[in-house]
Amino acid sequence: MNYVFQFSFVWREFDQLLFGAWLTVRLSAMAMLLGLTVGIVGARAKASRWRLLRGIVQAYIEAIRNTPFLVQLLLIYFGLPSLGIRLQPDQAALLAMVVNLGAYATEIVRAGIEAVPQTQIEAGRALGLRPWQILRFVVLIPALRAVFPALGSQFILVMLASSVVSVISAEELTAVTDTIVARNFRSFEFYMTATGLYLALSLGFQGTFAAIHRVLFARWSRHT
């Protein structure tokens, strides 16, 4: 091997890489929030009385879980304009991430909801709670607490998958790295550094989720 590694190049552009990492964090955080919302709505819809609605949600879940994220992204970004919906790369990236995460989140939240014993809902009714109060305090919060670790891993998977949105030149860490590499051809050094940053982001998100779990659900876990 007669290649000389030049990590000084990386150091010179490090602030740009950090900015790219920040864009990834921002994009992923938005996708997580919206994806979780889709997941909660989807899980509620899957427990609906209407068969058609349940079928639609199930079809959505199967379609997303059995096709690659990259193809979903390409279909949204290049395919939707044929239907008259034109999106900016960043919007298409976010939409693809939300649609993708939403399907997984629906399954995860549904599992949590199903784990809530029917008797607790009856107990809630017996206490005279309103339906939305039961949904919130008896069903959703315990369900989310139970599945929070699974949601956290899925969130991190989506954050890692977001590197793919660089192919439609949405702005995030991989895209920023691509741009720099196209300028100085130090591909290995830069992708190595970007990989390290992604690893740091994974660990960071993991820590954050653990902290959120402790703070958010501490009040409820005392009683069980």
Binding site: P68, L70, V71, F78, G79, S82, L83, V167, S202
Partner: protein
């Protein structure tokens, strides 16, 4: 000149399916061998071996598959063993699969009651013999459903090989799209093709898991 989307283009896409499948098979077989080794290290009694396995698994699970492919692709060039996209994709996906399979299989091996190890030791089996004759055959039974499930992840993961320029299904779609400029048609067909590959595997995995639960596992209700 823009070409029409004809049966020839459709045939081109269908033919690209074999590269997707072949890549997935290679990644699964290669990843299976490496992954089994890592899984065994992961449950080794010697701390350092366990640490090596943990770092390996964390590194691959905590970074994007795309970055892993880039690093293999550009890294092997630096090592002087210039690789084509085909080898890089196969190698990268093998590493990626090995980390996930190792983690899945570790769980299966650890699910075997400790008394089985002790029983095998009482028969004067060495550690490797205990593993081979007693633990692995039992772990295999519970490992099959999640392993088949992970096959779907590998199949979907192969789509990223298109980004480093290997012509599998997704890359073929981009080529056809560039010639015909019918993005919605092309990507919808490709989505359908991936779905046709992945859905049966998902169903099979779910089916086997249900059967396994019914047959042997006592139903454990975990109170969340």
């Amino acid at each position: 000149m823009i070409r029409e989307f004809t049966s020839y283009e459709l045939w081109f896409l269908l033919q690209a399916v074999r590269w997707t499948v072949l890549l997935a098979v290679i990644a699964f077989v290669g990843g299976g061998f490496v992954g089994l080794g890592v899984a065994i290290l992961r449950i080794a009694r010697a701390g350092p071996w366990r640490a090596v396995a943990i770092v390996y698994i964390r590194a691959f699970q905590g970074t994007p598959l795309l970055m892993q492919l880039y690093l293999v692709y550009f890294g092997s060039n630096l090592l002087g063993v210039g690789t084509d996209a085909w080898t890089a994709a196969a190698l990268g996906l093998t590493f990626y699969s090995s980390a996930f399979l190792a983690e899945i299989w570790r769980g299966c091996m650890q699910a075997i009651p400790r008394t089985q190890w002790e029983g095998a030791r009482a028969l004067a089996f060495g550690r490797m013999l205990q593993l081979r004759l007693v633990i692995l055959p039992q772990a295999l039974r519970i490992a099959i459903p999640p392993t088949v499930g992970f096959l779907v992840q590998i199949l979907k993961g192969t789509s990223l090989a298109s980004i480093i320029g290997f012509t599998e299904l997704t890359r073929a779609a981009q080529i056809v799209n560039n010639a015909t400029f019918r993005p919605f048609t092309v990507y919808a067909i490709v989505t359908l093709l991936y779905f046709t590959l992945c859905w049966p595997l998902s169903l099979l995995s779910q089916h086997m898991e249900r059967q396994l639960n019914r047959q042997h596992m006592p139903t454990v209700k975990v109170q969340a």
